[in-house]
């Protein structure tokens, strides 16, 4: 970063020119314009989806199975339950592993060792690997591959296979957010605990983790909301649409994004509107999750 003297002089000279005020205003308007485009886009998107989808939203919509033959009476029960089940399973898988990794990396790992540096770069990279690549991993390794955990029918396109794939997808996010939350607990808390004779594990379990909990919870919720919005990995692992039965852990499953995707692909217009109604449900779930995250952050945030 070098501001040379001549550059500074040039700026002062320009300051004196009368055009500067106009340019200042123009720049500000241009920036506001960018923001406006983003916000108008968001507004139009939500209005468009609402106009198309709201007429189809009713109580029955939630507890009727989707149908290709009678779109007027179609609902989303199997897809909705599939998404909720994916979310729960994904959380069960990802929370303990993600938090344990974060604790290890923040509290135990020696940063100068090559293995820990490798883990670090690796997690950063994994967080931006395209989701379709996770789908390939899920397809080849979990659905068709050698892994069949506890004989739960992994080895087929099952709910568990889908949840594991999504879990791997959001694991880096959970680790990264948990690390940030753990790092935010000030060293003085740890020092106080250790000075009172607690072991390192007692310090982590009784002081650091409770202090980091709001941050971790917020991060986990956001990671899960990313997971349930994903379509591509589920296409790869073989999630179905228009499914006439509820998902089971070792059986075929559907999910809201997959149902939306298949509705969009149908030729008649009514399926597009059904897709819009399904999008509203998905956005509603995401909205609830995000409100919860914001509430947790504000309500339980620790001020050190």
């Amino acid at each position: 970063m070098a501001v040379t003297e001549s550059a500074i002089t040039r700026k002062i000279v320009e300051r004196a020119s009368s055009g500067e005020r106009v340019r200042e205003l123009g720049f500000r308007v241009a920036l506001l314009g960018c923001l406006l485009v983003a916000i108008v886009f968001l507004g139009v998107l939500i209005v468009d989806v609402s106009v198309d989808g709201l007429p189809f939203l009713s109580l029955e919509f939630f507890y009727t199975f989707p149908s290709r033959i009678f779109p007027e009476e179609s609902g989303i029960q199997s897809a909705l339950l599939g998404t909720l089940a994916l979310m729960v399973l994904c959380a069960v898988f990802v929370v303990p592993i993600g938090v344990a990794s974060a604790v290890y990396l923040e509290e135990y790992a020696d940063r100068d060792r090559w293995i820990n540096r490798t883990i670090e770069v690796n997690i950063q990279n994994l967080a931006s690997v395209p989701s379709v690549v996770y789908g390939i991993l899920g397809l080849a390794f979990i659905v068709r591959g050698p892994v069949d955990i506890f004989g739960l029918g992994v080895g087929q396109p099952t709910l568990l296979a889908g949840a594991l794939t999504l879990g791997l997808l959001v694991l880096p996010i959970v680790i990264i957010v948990s690390r940030e939350a753990i790092r935010a607990v000030p060293p003085s808390i740890r020092e106080g605990s250790l000075a009172l004779g607690a072991t390192q594990w007692q310090t982590i379990w009784k002081q650091v983790l409770p202090g980091a909990l709001p941050g971790v919870a917020t991060g986990v919720i956001l990671a899960l909301s990313r997971a349930i919005g994903e379509t591509a990995p589920l296409i790869l692992v073989g999630a179905g649409a228009f499914q006439l039965f509820n998902p089971s852990i070792d059986g075929p499953f559907s999910a809201l994004p997959i149902q939306i995707f298949n509705n969009v692909g149908e030729p008649e217009d009514i399926f597009r509107d059904l897709a819009a109604a399904t999008i509203l449900v998905l956005l509603g779930i995401l909205l609830i999750m995000n409100s919860l995250a914001i509430y947790l952050r504000n309500r339980y945030e620790n001020k050190w």
Binding site: S128, V129, P130, L171, E191
Partner: protein
Amino acid sequence: MAGSQIPGFSGHGGDPASALYRTRTRRSAGAQAIKGLLAAAAVRGGGGAAALLSVLTTTGIVITLASEAVNFFQVVGLADFFFDTDWAPLAGGDSQAFGVVPLIWSTLYLTGIGLIVAVPLGLGVGIYLAEYASPRVRRILKPLIEILAGIPTIVFGYFALTFFTPTVLKDIFSVDVSVFNGLSAGIILGILVLPTIASVSEDSLSAVPQSLREGAFGLGAAKRQVVTRVVFPAALSGVVAALVLGASRAVGETVVILVAAGNTPNLTFDLTVAHQNMAAFIANTARADVSQGGVAYLTIFAVGTTLFVMTLLLNLVAIRFVRKYRQVYE
């Protein structure tokens, strides 16, 4: 959705005090019974094992892609794959062709269109939020951008196909596009990566020390001059990281392209016709439920390897640039 947007770029809190705990713990653990030591080792080992899972994930991805790609290249020559300009892996008989060039072209072309939209808009939003918005305005606007970042990509795809193409492109701007076209998908792709670029560039602009701004103001510079000639150049490595990350997301995006751009890769500049990128091809082929072990099934892995390597390179560049701006000011 603050954390959901660009995970992976947290800083390093290398606090000097951590060495202190370690020696202290060792001492206190030594004073405890062997049981305590065992428990500590178990905790440490468990955490380490969990952290290693992330390495295993990468290993799994690489092994999966590489092993099946090797099988693919036993059937199709490397030169045919990378230089042939015909792509029809699902066709039968003589018309079957495995030249990946059209797929790579559509991928890069649509990414380019997306970036033309996303770079100015994203940087504009980032600069406004970091430099101009008052804390009160930021509190309202930032969540809106985060909402945009959190909308599932299938929703963007739906919007591109059912609203942007017919209403905006055809009715309002009278562009003669087909139902599935690259223009709509590319522009919506741009909106999709806008929040990524906005929030990474905002972070790097905010990391520029206040003293630089004050110095420039003290010399009589106007706000715009401070922002464009002092703060922006100072944050340049972070801004570059933002752009590269945005590009990486656009290259790997599946559903928007799959829904709005159709299923035909096209080696053409014409945006009014269908395009297909690598990720959309992978999803579309997997959906067709091709038989395992056949050449069509194997193309998923050959194309997947190409996509993975491309995004890996972009991500490593981005990680390097992020590290650079963190080192300068932290």
